[in-house]
Amino acid sequence: MELDLWAQLPSVLPEIGLTTLAVVVLFADIYGSPATRRNVVLVSAVGMALLALAPLIWQPDPALYENGALLWGGMVNYDPLSQIFKVMLLLAGALACLMAAGDKGVGDKGEFYLIVIVATLGGLMMSSAADLILVFVALETLSIPLYMLASFRRGDQRSAESGMKYFLYGAFASAIMLFGFSLLYGFTGATNLAGIAAAMSAGLDEGLVAVMTALVMVVVGFGFKISAVPFHFWTPDVYEGAPTPVTAFVSVSSKAASFALLLRFLTAVFPADLAIAGVLIQDFWVNLLVVVSIVTMTLGNVVALRQSNIKRLLAYSSIAQAGYTLIGVVALQGADDSLAVASVSFYMFMYVFTNLLVFGGVILFIAKTNTEEISDMAGLNRRSPWLALFITIGLLSLGGIPPAAGFFGKFFLFQAAVHSNLVGLALIAVTNAIIALYYYLVVIKVMYVDIGPDDDKPIAIPRFYGWSLGITALLVILLGTVAVTPIYDWAALGAAGL
């Protein structure tokens, strides 16, 4: 295939930009003066935020992606689904850098930003990968930096333990997933996602068990990345042990990128009409994921009820959120999958900002008070009204209360489920949403109602930090009110490229 460089370049522009940014940050950190080093955070954050404009400026051509055209030798998708996820990942990276800025032992080291940039690069590649090889490379480019980040506070035992745990689980999951990939390759002789599907539908009457095994193995790998039950065990420990800015970053980027890839993988490799030996493969993975989704959200929510540590609470909450999001993935079974794809993309888009907002607030709280217990947040409204308000907006969004973005996010998911005749699943999900609201409200209650011993000691928010939180909070509100239409419509386009 002839390579038309200029036509193909925009599809990987953010990736090229990120690589450049990584090199710049690396050199600035090593060779720069102390003043330059202090500005590394700004260079990284602003750089990533600017790169987030690239997918908006260079929009893909519908004529190409609707026909499934791939770029760079069949490696890369260039479609709205990848674009929207790239934007949210870049913004997540930028915000994570800003929120880490003041953190001792994390934000004052230049390599932190370098690692965040590289991890984001992996996430970006995941959202557009079209080939098993690139899928795996991207996954590892995302994962390995995250293991390093989790153990970033080397002197801190909890951080080291968290990193080690994350790495062991992660390596194991990657290995299982890779084994699944190799089975798929072995039976079809193709590494291209669409090519695998074509080969399977062309004639694979014998390989039903092998394909199912491969499918299950791949789902296990994804289950680990998005912390779905029963592959969630690492989540609370890693979230609790890792430095809080890292937890914030891990909780959003790894999850968002994985959902992008999961949507693409399932629709491309196991399309609706694929039947082997008379068995519809889609029915199998839909049923599998329905069960995973129900168990994940229920377990996440029920266990979260018992948590007294805010980071562990948010860890279980993020497990539950993965369960909700899986509803959108399951809803792909419907005739018209644009609702399902749009609901997942929108949910992740708002989840990225929501979770960063909550974590951003919690990071500051922990940094100022040196405690992670929910009961110690008592009276936060009196100590810092704005901090309490920001955390509250974030928690409300997680709980799905308007005008925060979570209301629309959940609504779109439930709508997609009902549209795909999954009314029962929708009812289970709304019941779960109520359980979840209980523990979010308890945290809010503690901040606004309870009286703590330190009520008279105000917590000052650094100006710069306050602005980042304020803008994130504003985004969460906007995504729940006036900005719904553009983002949702953009997300709905994503189905066209699948």
């Binding site: 009196r382 009902v418 109520i434």
Partner: protein
């Protein structure tokens, strides 16, 4: 129907929201400024809602007025279209497309049922701000959240888009939680606030799933077998020109209901129609907030635990939000389901009326008496909906307004007594008429209203409800095995009239023990008369009870015009 211009209703929603945000940014030590912004916003909203209420008739520009037009349609014997009548009755509309691809719009408007509710909300908003004048603890946050609560309540009443209705419904819940948990009665507030919030949310999210199912059923109908109905409606201007088959517009749902879109069988079971299956979710989902038995349990605790202003808005307005949404999203959109389910749900409302009154009678705590009396009176509203005829439903509409003002007045009275005496234990109070004559008179007016004394609004609300039940009883029989109970509605009327007697008993008991009898001058030596702000509260809430009682035509025909489309949908004349 062109409705794109700016509507006064938009101002009614956004003034409290903007005021709330502004208050959050004020200096917390500047209490006068916080209160000033709050009271200005609330007064502005009250003025606008008065304009909506009194301007409604003039705004609905039809020859000879809406009511005459509807009467003429009935006379002429043409086939009535509930959807068309509903659209004709809408005033002060504004429509802005919100999420175009899903047919969600910001669409506001009032009809004859919601216009009085808007007025009620305006009244209670001002009263709530005034009665919270001297809150010590974090006044700034209190005022801001109160403003958000008011905005949410307004939003539900004026929504003509079902999604928007849900949006504002959920929007109202969170500030309410925080107000009760943060500023309520210390002993009970955390438990009561959480219980109330979870009860209400459970109801609403199940209703939301039902609404999503309706959205797809109606959409499938309009893009399939009902395509001609849809095109005709767009051509005639019933639906806006830019609407698609899938839409959240209540008008469009009503049209779908009228043309049998919700009569389809679901789950593959013959006879289990869509409407039949989902009606309980929609009606009871919102009925939770209206305190329908057996989902009333949150309400007395919630009312007692809440700070006075929140009790007022909660019992006064929020329970009406539930009853109103049950009517709008339940009865209006799934009339076939209403036909089947309301005749048995009426028993639940009967339990509300009698059981609520009986428990109220047994309470020692002044505030619990009022809390349970709300359960009892709201039962009458649901009972009025269940009559499914013009008389009874109009009565229920009036009862919503009457009870709203009355119960807000009651909670105001309780708050004023409690703030000065620091006890709500009825036996230990007494003789307060001497020191707080204003409050005593207000309580007596409210009490007489609540027992349905002619000349006050309670009478013109409750009498039509019973009349409507009696009228409806002719077709309603109950078969229990071999035993046939004929005309059981008339039995219900008789039993629930008993509830009114019990009401009289507890009102007189409280009045006698709290406001008359011995005054313990030693214990209550520092109890004095009330301030100007409190008097304004009593006037704002008490005067409408008398005005409406003496001159029902000020509101009754308006509500009747709002009920008529529903009657047409329910297949009545």
């Amino acid at each position: 129907m062109e409705a794109t211009g700016f509507s006064i209703l938009t101002a009614i929603i956004f003034i409290p929201i903007i005021a709330g945000v502004v208050i959050l940014f004020l200096d917390r030590k500047n209490r006068d400024l916080v209160r000033g912004v709050g009271v200005t916003a609330a007064s502005a909203v009250l003025a606008l809602s008065l304009a909506v209420f009194f301007g409604y008739d003039n705004y609905v520009k039809t020859d000879g007025g809406l009511i005459e037009q509807q009467a003429a349609m009935l006379e002429s014997g043409v086939e009535l279209s509930g959807a068309q009548m509903f659209v004709d009755a809408l005033a002060f509309e504004q429509r802005v497309v919100w999420v175009e691809s899903l047919g969600i719009a910001y669409h506001v408007g009032v009809d004859g049922v919601s216009a009085p509710m808007v007025l009620l909300t305006g009244m209670v908003a001002v009263a709530g701000v005034l009665i919270s004048w001297n809150i010590e603890d974090r006044l700034r946050e209190f005022m801001a959240f109160f403003m958000f609560l008011v905005a949410g309540v307004f939003g539900v009443f004026i929504a003509v888009d079902l999604f928007m209705l849900f949006f504002f419904y959920e929007l109202a819940i969170f500030p309410m939680y925080l107000l009760i948990a943060g500023w309520g009665w210390v002993k009970l507030r955390e438990y009561a606030a959480m219980k109330l919030t979870l009860y209400i949310l459970v109801g609403s999210v199940f209703a939301l799933v039902g609404a999503v199912a309706m959205y797809f059923a109606a959409g499938a109908f309009f893009s399939g077998s009902g395509a001609d109905v849809f095109e005709a409606a767009v051509a005639s201007g019933l639906l806006p020109a830019d609407s698609g088959p899938y839409s959240w517009s209540i008008v469009q749902f009503t049209l779908a209901a009228e043309n049998g879109a919700f009569g389809i069988d679901i789950l593959g079971i013959e006879g289990l129609s869509f409407a039949k299956f989902w009606f309980p979710f929609m009606f009871m989902g919102f009925g939770v907030l209206a305190g329908v038995f057996p989902f009333h349990n949150w309400s007395p605790d919630g009312h007692v635990a809440a700070p006075t202003a929140v009790s007022m808005i909660h019992a006064g307005v929020l329970m009406k939000v539930g009853a109103f949404a049950a009517l709008r999203a339940g009865v209006q959109l799934l009339p076939e389901g209403a036909d089947i389910h309301l005749p048995w749900m009426v028993f639940l409302t009967l339990i509300n009326v009698v059981y609520g009154a009986l428990i109220a009678f047994r309470q020692r705590d002044f505030k619990y008496v009022i809390g349970f009396s709300s359960v009892s009176h709201m039962g009458l509203v649901s009972m009025g909906w269940a009559t499914m005829n013009l008389t009874g439903m109009t009565g229920a509409g009036i009862q919503m307004f009457s009870h709203g003002a009355m119960t807000a007045l009651f909670f105001g009275v309780v708050g004023m007594v409690y703030d000065r005496s620091h006890t709500r234990d009825i036996p230990s109070l007494g003789g307060f008429m001497k020191v707080m004559p204003w409050v005593g008179v207000a309580f007596v007016i409210g009490g007489l209203t609540s027992m349905g004394m002619p000349g006050l609004s309670g009478f013109i609300a409750e009498f039509p409800i019973f009349q409507g039940m009696w009228a409806a009883s002719e077709q309603i029989t109950l078969q229990l095995g071999a035993f046939q109970l004929s005309n059981y509605y008339s039995v219900i009327v008789i039993i629930s009239a008993l509830g009114i007697v019990i009401t009289a008993a507890y009102v007189l008991r409280v009045a006698g023990q709290v406001f008359f009898g011995e005054f313990d001058a030693e214990r209550f030596h520092d109890v004095g008369n009330i301030e100007m702000t409190d008097r304004i509260v009593l006037i704002i809430l008490g005067a409408p009870l008398i005005i409406l009682g003496l001159y029902p035509p000020i509101m009754a025909p308006m509500i009747e015009s709002g009920i008529r489309p529903l009657i047409a949908l329910l297949g009545g004349g």
